[in-house]
């Protein structure tokens, strides 16, 4: 039968002595734990083994002899070692011998075949297995409780063998606590015989760890209690704490430190490893943070950082402003919706101005803030990086504001579903010009989107749907009365808020503006052929400043389409005005016509006084009655006086009828 002898590698160079260990009869294995050296007193050796057995519950015994012949072979030693077998009887008796300068070993295991002391002994074959005692002890492999239950008997025996070996070594820690410097009765050789594996620093740290951990645990508990205080719970603060990554990191660091300095002992190796890993990660983080801090404090880098911040911010703001100016013009040659561009552009410019003001306001304090925040690097590099992240977030807060505005807009006004060929892709805001004249007033079908921009306007606003290739709005089914073409903000404001503006209808009040469509949603207003003159004349005659003038001249209604001389409205199933429900007093639809040529160049009030508002025939009559001097044609110059307008000639092309010159106005604030 083969006997397995597990021998520690640390004892391979030990002096001659006795082998002390445990015999595992199930696996026919002898686990050698240590070597007892000469000289010794057998009684003291037995006492030591009894103490170890009592403390560790491991059946340690003297297993045999170990002979390391460093010098010439001594026959007396051999006899002496053989005689020891009678003192420390053990079956089988292991005899290991190593020759000087030789790699081969002699291993012998003798077993008596009978109970009698003189019974013949038989030798078993010995298999010597070296094991690293330190690694086996520290790794604590194969604890018996963790072994899975096996069903096959042979597997159980074999698996239990190694587990029993490792467990024997792990449980015999008591035997390894004495080293050669101890003044004990017995001199042992094992993995810690050269000195218990620990440095003075480690020992001192172990002694000091208790009170230090207690103190740190108390301080951390105070910090935790302070952070859980009610003062920090009210809504703005709790929201801020939840959003700042610095607070998150500090909270995490507090948890880690609480785990590390906990006064409770780790319950198992897993928890111990977790503690150790946490401690190492915290120390590493702190070391990196201190490195960063030392680098920042060198060469006054805080001041350089603070000085560099403001020019960089100014440069960014300048570039953004250039970009916005470009977008507000005709970017890449695209024709945009100018009114919308202006609104958005000024909106963003204003916020950039706020942002730059905020940074300039903070600039004197940035260096001090950075210096104090840099001290937080002592808590770790992660804390410093989280502070940096928060600083960047605060410096770029404007982006978040834009995001919130846009998100609110989209959330409040989800885009409508696409409707056939005439619908364009939904968007949160107006899509203008670049798509060949598509206009989009507001995304909400009931037109309430624009009211968000002009909340003070109580009148409902119609949304407009895009119509391809024509700058004509096709508003959604009418719910309100105001039909609006997105134009300059000021212009729109005037259209909305002018007190003289009839609230009952606002049909052709602006060029390109038409009454609300029929319920079928067809395009309203005159046909394309007559659109141009109608628009211009309507603009002339129905312009808010002109309305009081007209009223002063006796006209009570604003002309509209359908008047004499204009083409009849389209048939009901096409371009028919919708059921425009005028409120208040019923007013006839506006009638538009062209002013006579003689009045071109005059300011509107003067033109009105000279009958520009009159029909052509009446005007001819009037002209004939008018006395010298005839009206002088004013040069088409910018003769604007406080909001008055000029009539300028505009030739649109010959027609069968009398040649008429289309007049347009130079508006003081321009289209």
């Amino acid at each position: 039968m083969v006997l397995k002898a597990f021998f520690p590698t640390c004892c391979a160079s030990a002096d001659s002595g006795l082998l002390v260990g445990r015999w595992v009869p199930e696996q026919s294995s002898a686990v050698v734990l240590a070597v007892v050296h000469f000289p010794f007193i057998p009684v003291q050796v037995k006492e030591l083994l009894a103490q170890v057995q009592q403390a560790s519950q491991v059946g340690v015994a003297v297993l045999g002899t170990w002979c390391h012949r460093r010098q010439e072979p001594e026959e007396s030693l051999g006899h002496f070692l053989e005689g020891l077998g009678t003192l420390f009887s053990h079956e089988p008796w292991l005899q290991l011998c190593r020759e000087r300068g030789s790699k081969s070993w002699n291993c012998k295991a003798t077993r008596r075949q009978g109970p009698a002391p003189l019974a013949p002994a038989c030798e078993d074959q010995v298999m010597l297995i070296f094991y690293d005692q330190r690694k086996v002890l520290l790794s604590r492999l194969h604890p018996p409780a963790a072994l899975p239950e096996r069903q096959a008997g042979d597997a159980t025996a074999s698996a239990g063998g190694l587990a029993a070996v490792f467990d024997t070594v792990a449980r015999s820690e008591v035997l390894f606590q004495s080293d050669r410097f101890d003044e004990g009765p017995v001199r042992l050789t094992h993995w810690q015989s050269e000195g218990v594996e620990a440095s003075i620093l480690v020992e001192l740290a172990k002694r000091a760890a208790g009170p230090v951990c207690l103190l740190l645990a108390c301080l951390l508990s105070l910090v935790s209690a302070a952070s859980a205080c009610r003062v920090f719970r009210p809504w703005p603060l709790s929201f801020i704490w939840s959003k700042l990554s610095t607070c998150e990191q500090l909270r995490h660091r507090l948890d880690q430190l609480t785990l590390v300095v906990s006064t409770h002992r780790a319950e198992g190796p897993a928890q111990l490893m977790r503690k150790a890993n946490t401690l190492v990660s915290v120390l590493l983080d702190m070391a990196l943070g201190l490195l960063l801090l030392s680098w920042l404090h060198r060469k006054d880098r805080f001041a350089h950082l603070a000085e560099a911040l403001v020019p960089v911010a100014d440069r960014v703001a300048e570039e953004l402003q250039h970009l916005l100016q470009w977008l507000m013009g005709a970017p890449a040659g695209l024709k945009m919706n100018r009114a919308l561009d202006q609104v958005l552009g000024r909106f963003f410019l204003y916020h950039i101005h706020l942002w730059i003001s905020y940074i300039h306001l903070m600039s004197p304090f940035i260096e001090h803030i950075l210096w104090h925040l840099g001290l937080s690097a002592c808590l770790g590099l992660t804390v410093a990086l989280s502070i940096l992240s928060d600083i960047i977030s605060l410096l770029t807060f404007h982006i978040y504001c834009f995001y919130v505005y846009g998100a609110r807009w989209v959330c409040r006004h989800p885009p409508p579903a696409p409707r056939g060929a005439g619908a364009c892709s939904p968007g949160p805001w107006a899509q203008t010009g670049s798509r060949a004249g598509r206009v989009w007033g507001g995304p909400h079908p009931d037109g309430s989107g624009l009211q968000a921009l002009l909340p003070e306007d109580p009148r409902p606003v119609l949304a407009v749907a895009p119509v391809p290739r024509e700058e004509v709005e096709r508003p959604a089914p009418a719910r309100g009365l105001l039909l609006l073409r997105p134009g300059p903000a000021v212009h729109r404001d005037l259209a909305l808020h002018h007190p003289d503006f009839p609230a009952s209808y606002h049909g052709p009040v602006l060029p390109g503006v038409h009454p609300a469509p029929a319920p079928s949603g067809h395009r309203a207003g005159p046909g394309p052929s007559a659109r141009g003159p109608h628009q211009l004349a309507a603009a002339v005659l129905a312009w808010p400043p002109a309305v009081p003038a007209l009223q002063a001249c006796g006209r009570r209604e604003v002309p509209g389409p359908g008047a004499r001389g204009w083409p009849a409205p389209a048939p009901p199933d096409a371009d028919k005005p919708s059921a425009l429900q005028p409120r208040g007093a019923h007013l006839p639809p506006p009638q538009l016509w062209l002013p006579p040529q003689a009045l071109l160049g005059f300011p509107v009030p003067q033109a009105v006084l000279r009958g520009a508002h009159l029909p052509l025939e009446a005007e001819r009559g009037q002209a004939g009655l008018r006395a010298w001097p005839p009206a002088r044609l004013a040069p088409p110059s910018a003769r604007c006086q406080g909001g008055t307008h000029l009539l300028l000639p505009l030739v649109v092309g010959a027609s069968a009828g009398p040649t008429r010159r289309i007049s347009t106005r130079l508006r003081s604030w321009g289209w």
Binding site: S28, N106, M127, F130, P148, R150, A157, S158, L162
Partner: protein
């Protein structure tokens, strides 16, 4: 973990085989006892010709870069890269010997000895070993044979939890594998017989 056997000298024999690429392999078999056997497969050492070819290629490429960039640092870098690459290859890649030690009552130990002297050892308890087999595998454009150890599944008694291949670096051919396989099967049978007996 396991060390040399005690007492009697082991019987040893040596035979030559070839690997899947045609290189020469030397199989040393040491017979310690009916229950303990060791196989050592020696791979061909790194040849001077291949080393020279690689070095010349790297240096020629570096010289070509040097003529383009006119920077002598490229040549120094090429020398460093060659030296470091050689050291890394010898330490991490090139395996000189692969040893298989099988002890019926203990387990199977596989040792890989690198050209730099580093040794990597893996030990499998005999209780976890289900069987040692020769398996086929598709390797690039070839079908090769390899020896592997089947490990028992602790949950499923008839299942296999893992397949551990042996001699992955040497990749001997079937004739060499059969020699090793037969010896392993003898020892496993001996071990099963010993465990079955009361």
């Amino acid at each position: 973990m396991a060390g040399p056997g005690a007492g009697e000298p082991a019987m040893e024999d040596k035979r030559s085989f070839s690997d899947i690429c045609g290189g020469r392999l030397a199989l040393h078999r040491r017979y310690y006892s009916p229950s303990c056997l060791e196989f050592c497969l020696s791979c061909p050492r790194i040849s001077l010709r291949s080393l020279t070819a690689v070095t010349c290629t790297v240096w020629l490429a570096a010289y070509g870069l040097f003529t383009l960039c006119e920077n002598s640092m490229i040549l120094s870098a090429a020398i460093f890269i060659t030296l470091l690459g050689l050291l890394g290859y010898l330490h991490f890649v090139k395996i000189d010997h692969e040893t298989l030690l099988i002890i019926d009552s203990l387990g199977i130990q596989m040792t890989s000895s690198y050209a730099s002297g580093k040794e990597s050892t893996t030990f499998i308890e005999m209780g976890k070993v289900k069987d040692v087999i020769i398996n086929e595998a598709i390797y690039m454009q070839k079908v090769i044979y390899y020896l592997c150890i089947l490990l028992k599944d602790p949950v499923e008694p008839h299942g296999i939890s893992q397949v551990v291949p042996i001699f992955q670096s040497a990749k001997p051919r079937l004739d060499c594998l059969i020699e090793v396989y037969r010896s392993c099967q003898e020892i496993l049978a001996h071990q099963k017989a010993a465990s079955m007996s009361p």
